[in-house]
Every structure is written in C-alpha cells, then in structure tokens.
Amino acid sequence: MAHWEHYPHPADIGIRGFGATKEEAFAQAALALTAIVADLQTVELKEEVKISCPPPRLAATDAGAGQEQDDEFLFVSWINALIYEMATRQMLFSRFEVRIGKPRLIGAQYLAPQFIAGSPGFTRGLSARAFGEKINVKKHSPAVEVKAATYTDLKVRQDKNGDWVVQCVVDV
C-alpha cells in the first residue's frame, strides 16, 4: 500500500505519499522529496538525523479551521524541516520513521471553553528520524535543489478506504 509519486506542475513538481497511516504517508512523501534530487537507491543509510516539528500554532481566530488544516500545516512544516536539514547538513535521506504525537493542548492563551478535546485547539506535533548520507556529487548526481514546500495543492486526506494521501507542490 505505502508508496509515493511525483506529479506535474507547470513550473515545479508535486510530491505525494500514500500510506495506511498518516505517519506512513508523511514518510512516503519524504521519499518523493529526496527522489526529486537524486535516485533513492544511491542513498545509503549512514547517518541518522532527528527532526521534530512543533504542533502548528494557529491564531485563536483561526480556530474554526479544523484538524484537517492543522495536519496540512504540519505536513508543510515536515517537508520544510527536511529541506532545511538537507540544505544545511548537505545530506540526502532515503529512509524515514515518523511519529505524530497525541493531541495536546497548545498555548494557554488559547484556552477557552469551546476548546474541547478533538477541536482545533488541540493539535499534534511530529518527531521523526531520517536516515541517509552526505551528498556526493559523483555518486548521487543530484539534479536540483529544493527551495521550499508550498501550500499549492496541499492536502492531507483519508480516502474512502481509510488510507492516507498527503501531497503538495514543492518549489525547485
């Protein structure tokens, strides 16, 4: 079930991950991200990097936006965190383990009677381990740098079978 794909965008490229769980879909999308830069099979698992993304903190007035939007912001944070690690460590990653935390209350300033469990006042952070190695131009012949994840085509959804699909366009 778990897999990833690229899809076309006129200027750039879309990444899409599929999985039985949200975590699995997030990890698959991360493979799609690396595959923009290099062939995944060339990237050996030599180093481990820990990555964490805090829960998205929506402004209080955006509380109506819902869990779906929280998940989408978390997905953008995740991809952007990977882009940052790839850029500053000059690494490529080819394996990911993703955990998305249990809902928890964020920011006491948002505490209000309407914020009951499951409502948007509660949200989830992400922690992950990414495995890979330093970029070696000869070995990986990296094609292109990724600049950022965008909000274009951004989706974190469950299909009718309960499987997760996550996607966005990235700027290269």
């Binding site: 006129p10 200027a11 490229i13 912001f73 500053t88 740098e145 909000y151």
Partner: protein
Amino acid sequence: MYANKLKRHSECQWHIEPFDNMRVPVIIFADEKLIKMMDEKVFEQAVNVTKLPGIVKASYAMPDAHWGYGFPIGGVAGFDPEQGGVVSAGGVGFDISCGVRALRTGLIVGDIEPQKNRLADLLARRIPAGVGSRGKLKLSRREMDDMLVGGAQWAVERGYGTPADLEHTEEHGRMTGAEPRYVSDQAKKRQEEEVGTLGSGNHYLEVQKVTEIYEAACAEAFGLHQDDILVGIHCGSRGLGHQIGTDFLARMVKEARSHGIELPERELACALIKSELGRQYIGAMNCGMNCAIANRQVLTHLIRQVFAEIWPKSKLALLYDVSHNTCKLEEHVVDGNKRNLYVHRKGATRAFGPGHPLLPADLRAVGQPVLIGGTMGTASYILVGTEKNMSLSFGSCCHGAGRAMSRTQATKKWQGRDVIRTLAEQGIIVRGASTRGVAEEAPGAYKDVDEVVDATERAELAKKVAKLEPIVCVKG
C-alpha cells in the same frame, strides 16, 4: 471559468472586468497565440490577486505568465499602505530578488571561439553551482548581518568588484530598510556557505554573443555592438531567501484571518503593510534582496578572475543588474496623483522609462536596461524601459520565456546527454553538474522567448535593444 471572461482591449491587452468581490480589473499583456497557450490557472490567480486589500489599478500578468503560487509567475500588483494595502510573501516568492545581471566583456566572437572549451571548463570549475556546492566565503553571524544590510556594497567593500558596479545595480547595490533581526537563525544558517554560489534549477551562467541590434542609438548607450561577448548571470538569494519566504509564508497563512484578511488561496498569504508582521516581512525581504545582489556581485568577481586568466587585459563592465522577484516601495502616478505603492513583481522585471530618477546617471536619458533570460538553446534579450509603460503596468515587463512544460514531462521527453549533444552541434557548450537537471531545463520545455519578447514590445511594455545567443552555458 475565467478564460471566457477575457475581453480583448487592444492587440496585446486583455481585460477581465471586476465581478464578485474583485476590487480592480485584471489586465493581461499577450498576443493572441500566447493568450491561447496560457494556463486557465493564470487567469484564476490574477483574479485572486484583485481580491487582496488595498490593490491599486489592476492585477497585471506579463506575456510569459504561467501558473505560480498564489500570484501567477509574471504577475504584478501594487498596494497602497494608506488604503489598507498588503505585502505578500507569496507575491514575492521563495527566491527573493532572483534576477539577471549582464556584463560586457570587451571581447568579440572571434576572441572567444578558439578558447570556448577552456573557458567553459574554467567557469564550471570555479563557479560553485548545483546541489552540494559551497561558496568560498564562510560568513560569521556578524559578517552575515553586515552582508544583509550592505548588499553588493558590502561585497565591493571586501574587494569583490568596483564602485562602478554599484552604480549599475538596482538600488545602487544596497536595498535600504534591511532588518537582519527579522531574519530567522535558520535562514542565516542556510546561507553560511552559500554566498557566491549559482544554485540550480533554471539558474545559469552564460557567455553570450550579440546576434542582433534593434535600436542602434540605445545599443550604443548600453555599449552593445554586433558580435560583442557578454556574460549573463541568473540567480537569486539562495538558501537565505528561500527560508525567509518559508518562515513568513507560514506566519502570514496563519495570521491572515486575525488581521481581517480573507485569502482566496493560502499561497496568497499576506499581511497589512502597516502591521507588525508586514513591517517584519519587509525588513527581512530587504535582507533577501541584499543577499541576492551581494551573491551576484561575488559571482561577478569569480567570473572576472576566470576571464583574466585567459585574457589578462580583459575588463568586464557591469551593464546592469535587475531582479524579478521583488516587492518595492515606488512612487507612481495614479489618476493624476502621485502615490507611494508597494509594487510586487513575481517573475516580472522592473522596466523604468527614460528620465526616471532611480536610473544610473549615464543611462537616465535612454531608460533602464531590462534583462530577459532565455533558455540554454535559444536567446536572451536586452530591452529598454519606455515612458509609456509607467502608466501601463507600473513600469514592469516579462522576465523570461516562461515554462511551457513541467519538469516531469521534460525528463520523460528528453535525456540530458542528448540535450547537451544537440546544443553542442549548434555550437553551444553546456556544462552541468547533473544531466537530469539539464533535461529538466531543455529549451523545448519553455515557451518561445522570441514570441514573448515580441508581444512585450507590441504591448509597449519595453523596446528591443539587442538579442543575445549563448555560446557557453553553466548550469547548476
């Protein structure tokens, strides 16, 4: 559907009159062929821009416009801070101040031809390009902040160029209003070793020859003659700019509603110019602009060293440096009144007409050089801004050919090695770190730059001065 709302206003101008909650019309500059090729998304995105608060006159799209993020690529919009206007991180993009710089080499085709392989090899070796490349400068945090405030002036003070370079760079090489304290640690970290690097994707370094002169007097003023050799650099603010875009887009998306702004699309995320977030973004974005022009200045220095190695007497003079992903405070006349507007140009080039006070003294009488980057196999153009355009689109113009095909389609259609071989047969040497990267940038993946520039001229956005064709192209 938006395409059926297009009304032809003149040969190269198409309008969408306001409907629903549009505040102003959409104006698209294109000929019939280009408008038919344009993605429906361009019209939709240009319409979305008209819904943002404080927009003045119209939301514009240039002849090379294609589907972007929030704003179309090739989109222009001005906002009035006194009328609740906004600044949009999406309207500037992730590659803040990406732009083109043109250098005159003083050499002619006959000088280059016998040496072009050696030149290509040296440039490819000395200019850090592509994924995993690092610049020769490693900046401490203090030096980083100095660079973010000083721009190309900072680079010249450190010996990477001359005062004459600054005179021929937008903003005299230094964007005022840069506030490094609003640039995140992550953004600075991403830039530590990226000063003086070309990047990848559509960025390039080209050695070009003048193959056609259109406006003799103007070409003379720009110092351009048939068969002259120029160097073109296309790149931007590197990791720092990308991270500033990422950081502020996220904040603007989350805070827009609390500022009373309804976003037609998340990527249009913006903040009131007169808000704390708006001020912070402008301060950070100005740092991004300085980073981009400092970067192109350091690259210029490296290129001069390579040329000096082969032609010890060569002197590379800067013709001009102009960015095409910007938001700048500019004075424009609107309905007879002078107003200060924040003009966003997303994949659009500033193109100021003759007499504009911001132009270099020696070019003020002729108008601003407008640098249009082509693709590896086609052509680049140098245009000149017109007086007329100051009232057409705030003095803005196209920025390149504009993609016609996605990267995924391009890599299915072409092999990098074949692209390199075909271009070599045409006398164009391509040096690229990655063959797939070359395939993604194949000339056939772009619109015809000649058509885009012709439509730009017929729309009176700018006039053609010279056509340049590549001899050597270094890709990331």
